[in-house]
């Protein structure tokens, strides 16, 4: 609440104040690329550990991703391209992937990078003593080996379609520095050596992480000489640092994007805004093991009664999209032929009555003397809370009695999700790049602590998900997941609410940012970004 108040106040101050620090620099002139310069950005949390397989938090992966490479990476259109691998081949039976690694690559400490490093990393991520939650994907590799220094071979007992994605998310670690270390508590995690664009320069606990260019970088030298990431937990403070010119970029929220910026032209003179599809979606999920949610009519009735457009406008100020499948809108895996269920009160009533519900004296639907009433559960997340309130109001209108309970995350998961003691939830999933959704939708995944906690069970979907994991041909895979998306949408075990945009504000002195953001996001080409000399801060001493 306090942030919200602060923002309102800030917009008031901002609105009636003719800022005195108006600088008249024109940032729009084209200037050719110049290397050097320091980029300063901000993050809300401190990285835990720069070995990403152990850390698991987003701050760590953001920093570690600039230091380490995987075998593969996503290109700007979200296809695969080589990262440490030059090329890769998949055997005809789909059970063997051969990676040809780049040659003459050196770690930042000048030691050569070889296949042994890849093998070592695989051994570590599958080692039962390694404290990583991400081991299971790599345990599917039945044998991993090095044919020579530059050929890494991963063999699977059965074809595993998401395999390439798993090799794009595993940071390769240097064997020579870690073989005698305990990976769980090694000092390396605070002072890593990698192969990517940057190397750690200095880490001031709780304050900032400073990166410098890695002269041995596998993809050559980036233009920006240093990157400083300051740790500023409060977004209002980050925003003030941004408009004061002390940080160069940050993720902003919908209020800043569509209220503050449009009302202050002097901010638009020095800061560019970028909008791209975000990485997750928010949904309304039913506990399918409980009555009345096992009834398709009831689920559909609720879906018709919810006004998704209103939620997007109210919660995200319009900065989001409706989705019909769990994939990023506009990308390959999205099933574009699904017809949206749109807000329609009369259809909703029709469906409720079809299931035998009648309005009672209090204007609430009831069946056999039992009113249609349930509780929506969500965790402490402003957007989800607001969403739940809007849903509650619409359902109240139609005659469904809904209450809302908001709970701290760990209690939410352990007391309600794990035990199955909930009726409906407002939650989010990520919009995955690989279409595999096995752990969320397969009927075998509904045990305590697993992710099909809503208890979805459809044999056809199970078959599709199993086949989808084994199919490596994109066209065939696309058919499988199109059918999967269609069944899920028809059965409405969850109601897709919205996928919000990621909003980024970048100072105009940063040049080289693509005007049209590619599917891979605005940061995709950040190695080409540069700050012309005349716009740099006075930072010679760095």
């Amino acid at each position: 609440m306090h942030k919200f108040l602060a923002l309102i106040f800030l917009s008031l101050v901002v609105g009636c104040n003719n800022s005195q620090n108006l600088d008249n620099t024109n940032y729009d002139d084209p200037i050719p690329p110049e290397s050097g310069g320091v980029l300063t950005n901000a993050m809300i949390g401190e990285p835990n550990n720069l070995i990403a397989m152990i850390a698991g938090d987003s701050a760590s992966s953001a920093i570690a991703g600039q230091i380490f490479n995987a075998l593969l990476k996503y290109d700007q259109n979200l296809g695969f391209e080589g990262d440490l691998a030059d090329s890769w081949t998949i055997s005809d039976d789909y059970k063997k992937i051969t990676f040809n690694l780049k040659q003459d690559i050196k770690w930042a400490d000048d030691k050569p990078f070889t296949c042994e490093d890849v093998l070592f990393t695989w051994k570590k991520v599958t080692d039962p003593d390694t404290r990583t939650p991400y081991g299971s994907d790599y345990q599917l590799v039945s044998s991993a080996s090095c044919a020579n220094n530059h050929i890494f071979i991963a063999e699977y007992d059965e074809p595993y379609a998401p395999a390439l994605e798993t090799w794009a998310s595993l940071h390769i670690l240097p064997e020579h520095l870690l073989k005698n270390e305990n990976i769980n508590d090694t000092y390396f995690s605070l002072n890593p050596t990698g192969t990517n664009f940057y190397a750690l320069d200095e880490w001031t606990t709780g304050q900032q992480v400073k990166l410098k260019t890695n002269p041995n970088s596998v993809h050559g030298r980036p233009l920006l000489e240093k990157k400083i990431t300051r740790i500023i937990p409060d977004l209002s403070s980050q925003f003030m640092e941004l408009i004061a010119g002390n940080i160069d970029l940050m993720n902003i929220n919908p209020i800043q994007y569509s209220r503050v910026f449009p009302s202050r032209s002097e901010l638009n003179d020095k800061i560019n805004l970028y909008k791209e599809m975000g990485n997750g979606y928010t949904y309304f999920g039913f506990n399918l093991k409980k009555k009345p949610f096992d009834d398709l009519n009831i689920r559909k009735a609720i879906s018709y009664a919810i006004n998704k457009e209103e939620i997007i406008n109210g919660v995200l100020l319009g900065l989001g999209e409706e989705i019909t499948s769990p994939y990023k809108p506009g990308t390959y895996w999205e099933n574009k032929s699904i017809n949206k269920i749109s807000f329609d009160v009369s259809k909703s009533r029709e469906l409720l009555e079809k299931s035998g519900y009648q309005l009672n004296a209090n204007n609430i639907y009831e069946k056999d003397g039992k009113p249609l009433a349930f509780e929506i559960l969500t965790n402490q997340n402003k957007q989800r809370e607001m969403t739940a309130v809007l849903i509650q109001r619409r359902l109240q209108d139609i005659g469904i009695d809904v209450s809302i309970r908001v709970i701290e995350w760990a209690s939410f998961v352990n007391r309600f999700i794990k035990t199955g003691e909930f009726e409906a939830v407002v939650l989010g999933w990520s919009l995955s790049l690989d279409p595999d959704q096995y752990s969320i939708w397969h009927s075998s995944q509904d045990g305590p602590g697993q992710f099909n906690f809503i208890g979805y069970n459809n044999p056809r979907v199970d078959t599709l998900l199993e086949n989808g994991r084994k199919e490596l041909k994109n066209e065939k895979r696309k058919q499988i997941y199109d059918e999967f998306s269609k069944i899920i949408y028809d059965e409405q075990p969850i109601i897709y609410l919205y996928a919000g945009y990621g909003l980024t504000a970048i100072h105009k002195k940063i040049k080289g940012v693509k005007k049209i953001t590619p599917p891979a996001g605005v940061f995709h080409n950040d190695y080409e970004w540069y700050i012309p000399k005349k716009f740099r801060r006075n930072e010679m001493s760095l």
Partner: protein, 339 residues
């Protein structure tokens, strides 16, 4: 006297065990553990691997066994390592065989919080004593009213709100003070004096904001204490024998009025290590408040227990110091102790 001291210190041991036992159990009453934080709610992280993590952290054992393991380490002064900030030592830095130093979490956060809180208490007490004295001398006159109004506004105003306004006006519009953080870019290159100045500039707003709410209580305490003493007979005597008013106020009245403040000062010692989560978040200060808050949300048991243990030790020491100081200042109590 020495006997008394030894007795008090020995008494602390069972008290500490009791405190830690209660804290440990209450902490484990909260549902969830380190493996159920939000980033672990990721389809790529399987339940089996989370179960494996629980075993590696001994979280699958009964609570009483976990407490035993913790107690065993703590008597060797080993506060363990954080679960969340992977394996960073909770209390103090550790060195591995190559001479690499891993900084301790409390070691890094405590000095910052201590500095801010010491500055804050110093300011609160000196300003409050001044304001309280003026208010008492000018009792029920305009200065008294103004001071009371001012300290209550300070008490009532939401700190985070004022903080954001000040950050905006002093940091963004007129760039006289830094907005957030502890050091400027290029801090390492500054001279020693420059570094101190830079740090003070960064601390100005956070300290000011934390002072504001503390002024009301203490200045009114001083004011009322002064008024009570000013009405006593020995002050009349002092005035009657012709002492300067200054001497009456500052030597005879103030000295006596300050006596109860010793207790307050002693009681605020444990507060010295606690930081404000909101202020630390807004000003991006990596202090104890944020450390503790994040640890609780992450169910990072070693860090939570580490901070609680240090906190209870300091509370007990604070109480002891308050009692001793009181005895030192007031002969009546001193005589009671020795008996």
């Amino acid at each position: 006297m020495l006997n008394y001291l030894v007795k008090r210190i020995l008494w602390m041991i069972p008290m500490l065990i009791g405190i830690s036992l209660i804290s440990f159990f209450i902490m484990h009453l909260a549902p969830g553990d380190i493996t159920s934080n939000e980033s672990a709610f990721n389809p790529k992280a399987s339940e089996e691997s989370r179960q494996k993590l629980r075993e590696l952290y001994n979280l699958d054992k009964p609570i009483i066994v976990q407490y035993g393991l913790w107690l065993k380490r703590i008597v060797q002064l080993d506060f363990g390592s954080s679960f969340a900030s992977h394996q960073r030592p909770v209390l103090w830095e550790t060195k591995d065989e190559n001479g690499n130093i891993k900084p301790g979490l409390i070691q890094k956060a405590l000095p910052i919080t201590l500095l801010i809180n010491l500055l804050t208490i110093l300011l609160i007490f000196s300003i409050s004593i001044l304001l309280g004295t003026i208010a008492a001398i000018k009792k029920n006159k305009i200065p008294d009213r103004i001071i009371t109004l001012f300290v209550f506004i300070g008490f009532a105003i939401p700190g985070f709100w004022l903080a954001l306004i000040l950050m905006y006006s002093l940091g963004v519009v007129n760039q006289v003070l830094p907005i957030s953080g502890l050091h400027s870019v290029g801090y390492e290159q500054m001279s020693k004096l420059g570094q101190i100045f830079d740090l003070l500039k960064h601390l100005a707003l956070p300290v000011f904001i934390s002072c504001l709410s503390g002024l009301a209580g203490i200045s009114l305490y001083v004011r009322n204490g002064m008024i009570e003493i000013l009405n006593q007979d020995f002050i009349k005597t002092a005035r009657a024998k012709g002492l300067y008013e200054k001497k009456v106020i500052f030597v005879h009245t103030l000295k006596n009025a300050l006596l109860p403040l010793i207790t307050i000062l002693g009681l605020s010692i444990p507060g010295l290590i606690g930081g404000s989560v909101i202020a630390e978040s807004i000003f991006a200060i990596p202090g104890m408040g944020k450390l503790f808050y994040d640890a609780v949300l992450m169910r990072d048991f070693p860090v939570v227990m580490g901070i609680l243990t240090i906190g209870s030790i300091l509370t007990l020491i604070g109480n002891l110091i308050a009692d001793l100081a009181y005895a030192w200042a007031d002969p009546r109590i001193r005589r009671g102790l020795v008996k």
